[in-house]
């Protein structure tokens, strides 16, 4: 604690002069919509459940979406880790006190796209609050093992850094619940611990699989002499290597399991020259080889889970490429059924409920599945929106659609708004494989979609029929083959949207939707042959899935000011520009290096300025060489000189820089750990929160210039849309200095919003809602209003009060939504049926209105223009005026009905004032009963159940009133007639009431007439 406070104190001092005048807290009312979806999910890396809770409380760790918790066995999930690193390698519950949970950051499925952690976290209140408790530099954590007898003893299995040598790996132990840590087993700076087991019957007995592994941007190696299987019988003090019966070394990654009920029975999948399944019956001392199907031994570096049933030592589960299970102790395996649903391939985690071993959860590359029949069939959990997008694009439709590709989950599209809001059902798939760039064509009918390695197709929306359009090598290209990045850029022109670009080592351009391509560059990469030996990649198991392809173009940008200005950045450090449409290219990477960016860094994004042809921004990232710094640069001379834009706020490596299309000083930066904004052209930055995970992996950012929406692709939390970001740039210094500022309100179009409701909500899944249907009334408060009220009033042009709304009192931007209506009528009491007219008011007419903001005793005002919705062809301005007139007429009628009901109640109350006298007075009783009879004609008085409807005069007037108030079409004659009928009915009933009064009042001299009657 001491260290943390000293460090943060130091940071505060050093950053004091560089703090942005605005920060995310000021824009807290701007909440991003998480579009999800849960339709397809993302990689699940760790699952643990609380045993004492009938398996209802489950923690889920994800590759890029943090930790989620269910307290109802998976019916719903909540994110619990939104303030921290989103890459999770392990979660473990202290079963003796399940409020204590540990989360190890940094996933350990060591694929090319794996993220990086920043330590181990602990909660003591079931996930509401977390503290980092060390292991900050471990980068990847694969497992947390808690001593079942003394839960203060914790072991952490740390594979450690993937991209470089590191001493921070091996096995770490704490004996005090994580307060302090000792590294108890370490081999060398290339060998970490992949898996760790504890004998539940004897917690001093531990098994460790040590693993030598390394990635480079262009190759992967799993295995080496230092990998091995180890056992300790003294709680980790000493370790001995086990070899008896195991294959010849070197080993790669070893997955292990023991049978909890008979811990001598062990299983290991050992990656070696002959990767295989091994079984031990003597607590790991000796092993024998067991034949096994391909799935059991598949891809050991990526599928490292094998689990034995908690109660049945013969029941063995192997979640791998698909799901296998054995009922005979590993002798033979069967595959899960796909009845009901296909289970997404590539599995990484399995939790079996020990108190009901029929129930289990498996984590895959595509989300979480539940089985209630011992893994035979599975059901998909639709409420975990942890999809791992790489990119996002939007089209010109109204509402616009978003498009994007995901890790192992293809390419998808969804509308940004839809009737009833965005749900799982709003999303539709446009391509398969690993999805990356998914780019709509301006024709509104076409999308370009790809899977890994630049396999791009032109897809017809509507039919999803596709045409493979990847450029092919011709005799003109003097090279062995075209090199396509795993995540190959496909880009349409920012200036000329008919230009379609795709990059191998050469840049290609098409002006006919990819039917024909023209190569417009030489090899733009370093063409370093040492980085092109992908066929040797993988280590002990060959693994070359295009993920290691290198010396390729990674990012492309056409200037929005000049279609001949084209930028291309490569994965091996080259940043190239052409100003003549691709005839002559200039490599400016040497100029970039001068501002301290390593020459081999990937060029992750390029943003030619939309305001100045000579200005360009670029991000670089060097994490594949173990360097996680944030590299953002700007040049104002076409790349000749570069300036680093930096901030103490930045965390982790940069993926994307985006300049606002309207405000040149508004910039957004996405990194592996967060979204950042600057309102002064990049000098000062702040972290965006806005109801997004604060350390979200932000891979891509777009801004729709029509709606001013910020569209964010995260690698683990799906797509976010922050609707209308204009308030962010509106907070100028002048306004920040004021105590209160009422912003001008945009014109309000008079309608009931763009969408109807459509009835029942979508069953289950993830829901994102819609953007607000009308612009908000915004005001700024320098400080929270702790005492006194904030009131927002709307006045018409004659100064008459139209409506009053309570204002919010938060510090920063406050947003109030006016429903464009006047004040609803009062509802007289005494009915047995709720009357909705009390919440319904006529929509105002077009014209100028005034908004008055009252803060304590001060008043601020501005004009609001309400405009007729000219797009609605069913309602002319004249029609609207008639609708308004009739809704006001009906409101008057409704008021009269209620006033009469009040009069009846007045007499009835008067008659019963003296209850003793009332019971003896026959005249009073007669009067009362006759009044009650009349009242029963005015409104529902008998109804006792929502299942027995009763409709009287007030209900009839209310229904007609409400339907006219909500009208978005001209009045029809039927409704006009109905108004006449109800007006006449009212007169009839009122006459009946008058007669009752005239007849009975003289006989009840104790009563007085109500005023105005």
């Amino acid at each position: 604690m001491k260290k943390i406070s000293l460090i943060s104190f130091a940071l505060i001092i050093s950053a004091a002069n560089a703090q942005s005048p605005v920060n995310a807290a000021m824009f807290g009312t701007m909440e991003a919509r998480a579009l999800g979806p849960g339709t397809m999910s993302g990689r699940i890396t760790a699952i643990d459940g609380a045993v004492n809770d009938e398996g209802k409380t489950i923690f889920i760790g994800t590759a890029g979406g943090g930790v989620w918790k269910s307290t109802n066995a998976g019916a719903s999930y909540k994110p619990m880790f939104d303030k921290y690193c989103q890459s999770i390698g392990a979660v473990a519950i202290n079963q003796k006190n399940p409020s204590i949970v540990y989360a190890g950051t940094g996933e350990s499925n060591m694929r090319n796209s794996v993220s990086i952690g920043n330590g181990l976290y602990k909660t003591t209140d079931g996930g509401d609050n977390w503290k980092k408790i060390g292991l900050d530099s471990t980068e990847h954590i694969s497992k947390i093992v808690i001593n079942s007898e003394n839960p203060d003893i914790i072991y952490v299995s740390v594979p450690g850094a993937l991209w470089c040598n590191s001493k921070h790996r091996g096995i770490y132990k704490s004996s005090n619940g994580g307060d302090t840590w000792d590294k108890i087993f370490y081999i060398d700076d290339q060998t970490g611990c992949a898996d760790l087991l504890m004998d539940p019957a004897n917690p001093n007995v531990l098994f460790a699989s040590m693993w030598q592994f390394r990635r480079q941007p262009y190759s992967f190696s799993s295995g080496g002499k230092t990998s091995g299987l180890y056992k300790s019988t003294d709680a980790g003090k000493t370790w001995k290597e086990i070899t008896k019966g195991l294959p010849a070394k070197p080993f790669g990654r070893i997955a292990m399991a023991l049978a909890p009920i008979d811990p001598k029975q062990m299983f290991a999948i050992v990656e070696s020259e002959n990767t295989g399944l091994y079984i031990s019956s003597d607590a790991g001392e000796t092993w024998k080889s067991q034949s096994a199907p391909l799935n059991v031994t598949a891809r050991p570096f990526y599928f490292s889970t094998i689990v034995v049933d908690p109660k049945d030592p013969k029941r063995v589960y192997r979640p791998s490429f698909y799901f296998s299970y054995s009922s005979d102790g590993g002798y033979s395996f069967s595959e899960a059924s796909s009845d009901g649903t296909w289970v997404h391939s590539d599995m990484h985690a399995l939790w079996i409920n020990p108190s009901n071993t029929n129930v289990m959860y498996v984590g895959t590359d595509g989300g979480l599945y539940t089985s209630i029949d011992k893994g035979v069939t599975w059901q998909f959990n639709q409420g975990l929106p942890v999809g791992q997008f790489y990119h996002v694009a939007y089209d010109n439709q109204e509402p616009y659609n978003v498009y994007g590709g995901l890790q192992d989950n293809g390419s998808w599209m969804a509308p940004s708004a839809a009737p009833g809001g965005i749900g799982n059902g709003s999303w539709s798939r446009v391509g398969g494989g690993d999805g990356f760039w998914t780019v709509p064509d301006a024709d509104g009918k076409t999308v370009y979609s790809e899977y890994q390695g630049g396999n791009v197709s032109r897809v017809a929306l509507g039919t999803l029929k596709s045409e493979f359009i990847q450029p092919q090598k011709t005799a003109a290209e003097k090279t062995d083959k075209l090199r396509w990045n795993w995540n190959t850029p496909i880009v349409t022109g920012a200036k000329n949207p008919k230009n379609l670009y795709i990059g191998a080592q050469f840049l290609y351009k098409s002006t006919d939707q990819g039917r024909n391509w023209k190569r417009i560059s030489p090899d733009l990469t370093t063409d370093d042959k040492k980085k092109q030996k992908q066929e040797d990649s993988g280590g002990l198991s060959e693994d070359n899935t295009s993920a290691e392809n290198h010396c390729t173009i990674f990012t492309i940008a056409e200037s929005s000011l000049d279609e001949n200005q084209i930028w291309a950045g490569t994965d091996d450090g080259n940043l190239q520009v052409s100003t003549d449409g691709g005839t002559v290219w200039t490599n400016v990477s040497a100029n970039v290096s001068k501002c301290g960016i390593a020459g081999q860094s990937w060029v992750s994004s390029i943003q030619p300025s939309q305001f100045d042809k000579n200005t360009v921004y670029a991000t670089f990232e060097n994490h594949m060489y173990g360097d996680f710094k944030t590299y953002l640069t700007k040049s104002t001379d076409m790349g000749k000189t570069w300036k680093r834009l930096n901030s103490p706020e930045f965390t982790s490596f940069a993926h994307k820089i985006k300049e606002d299309p309207e405000n040149r000083n508004l910039l957004f930066l996405g990194t592996e750990m967060g979204l950042f904004a600057s309102i002064d052209g990049g000098e000062l930055w702040f972290r965006m929160k806005n109801k997004m995970p604060e350390y979200a992996m932000v891979r891509d950012i777009q801004i729709n210039p029509k709606t001013h929406d910020l569209i964010i692709a995260t690698h683990g939390r799906g797509i976010y849309i922050l609707d209308d970001i204009r308030p962010i740039s509106s907070l100028t210094k002048d306004i920040l200095d004021k105590d209160v500022y009422l912003f001008p309100t945009q014109p309000l179009t008079l309608n009931n919003g763009k969408y109807g409701w459509g009835g029942t909500e979508v069953q289950g899944g993830w829901g994102a809602g819609n953007p607000p249907s009308t612009p908000s009334i915004d005001y700024y408060l320098k400080d929270r209003l702790s005492s006194g009220k904030a009131i927002v009033e709307i006045y018409d042009d004659k100064g008459r009060l139209v409506q009053t709304m309570p204002g919010t009192i938060r510090k920063g931007i406050n947003k109030i939504y006016w429903n464009l209506r006047s004040t609803p009528p009062r509802v007289a009491a005494g009915s047995t049926k709720a009357d909705g007219a009390g919440f319904t008011a006529p929509m105002v007419l077009p014209g100028m209105y005034t908004v008055k903001l009252k803060i304590k005793d001060k008043e601020y005002s501005s004009d609001i223009q309400c405009v007729h919705d000219a797009e609605n062809k069913d309602l002319s301005l004249e029609d609207r005026k008639l609708v308004f007139e009739k809704s006001m007429l009906l409101q008057t009628l409704y008021n009269e009905v209620n006033n009469t009901i009040d009069s009846i109640t007045f007499y009835q109350t008067g008659l019963k004032t003296d209850s003793t006298a009332f019971s003896k007075n026959k005249n009073a009783k007669t009067f009362y009963d006759e009044l009650q009879k009349v009242k029963g004609e005015f409104m529902a008085t008998k109804k006792t159940s929502i299942f027995a409807d009763e409709e009287r005069l007030r209900e009839k007037v209310s229904n007609l009133y409400s339907s006219v108030c909500w009208k978005e079409a001209k009045m029809n004659t039927n409704q006009l007639d109905a108004i006449e009928v109800l007006t006449q009915d009212y007169k009839t009933q009122k006459d009946a009431f008058s007669k009752v009064v005239i007849k009975n009042l003289p006989k009840n001299p104790q009563l007085k007439k109500p005023a105005g009657f």
């Binding site: 604690m1 001491k2 000293l6 807290a25 807290g28 509401d128 702790s786 510090k811 429903n819 919440f839």
Partner: protein, 237 residues
């Protein structure tokens, strides 16, 4: 060696003093909060409360009247859309009659709900009574609530109900509380935000704006220590 010892010593010193600083901070926060809301003596004098309130939503108004006897009972009457309903909570039972939600007669609250609602019967400020109620209290740190970086304090009662309080460091008023509890096999969470703090003649400072998520409840009239008959908390026949 000497240097190491020196820094170790300095470290220990800092560490000891910073722990002291933290626990003192929580005590300090509670003391300042207590003072800010009118002091313990004034609060202790309050035995009953009656509040008339209004909820305003797009021009419509919902009226409520609340009767409260400290730590014993509470009743809320609510009128909307021409109908009236109520809720009653005592130490032993709870009833709800919300005809606008379709209820035809009063419905009993579950035992868990009654147990979890006991805090609501406490008129006293929680920060002045947590110790006598046997609640554990912890300063978690700071957190943003509506743009204000607040002190975040967690209280846990004997039943495991957790309440997190957020206190504005500029005036030590409570801005928000979040309750998390288990009831009938479910985990339930709700939040209440507070505003419009006003000093009343009896010396306490009371939030005249309370929002439990269903709209802002504005207290129009606050009566302190009115006479409240026991019959108020009985179900009507």
């Amino acid at each position: 060696m000497k240097n190491i010892n020196k820094s170790l010593f300095l470290g220990l010193l800092l560490s000891a003093s910073s722990f002291a600083a933290i626990s003192q901070t929580l005590d300090e926060i509670i003391a300042k909060h207590t003072e800010a809301v009118g002091g313990k003596a004034n609060w202790n004098k309050i035995k009953t409360l009656k509040m008339e309130s209004v909820i305003k939503a797009q021009g419509a108004e919902i009226h409520t009247t609340t009767f409260q006897v400290d730590k014993k009972a509470m009743r809320e009457n609510i009128t909307l859309m021409g109908m009236s309903g109520f809720s009653i909570i005592t130490n032993t039972e709870g009833w709800e009659f919300m005809p606008f939600q379709g209820q035809a007669k009063p419905e009993a609250m579950t035992a868990d709900d009654v147990k979890n609602a006991q805090d609501e019967l406490n008129i006293q400020d929680e920060f002045m009574t947590y110790a006598e109620q046997g609640k554990k209290i912890e300063l978690i740190g700071k957190d943003d609530v509506d743009g204000t970086e607040c002190f975040k304090i967690k209280m846990t009662d004997k039943n495991g109900k957790e309440t997190t309080y957020y206190i504005d460091p500029s005036n030590y008023y409570l801005i928000k509380q979040t309750n998390k509890m288990k009831a009938d096999g479910k985990e339930v969470e709700n939040s209440i935000t507070y505003g419009d703090y006003k000093k009343v003649p009896e010396g306490i400072v009371y939030p005249m704006s309370i929002n439990g998520g269903m709209g802002e409840v504005q207290i129009v009239k606050l009566e302190i220590n009115p006479v409240i008959e026991d019959s108020v908390f009985k179900l009507p026949n």
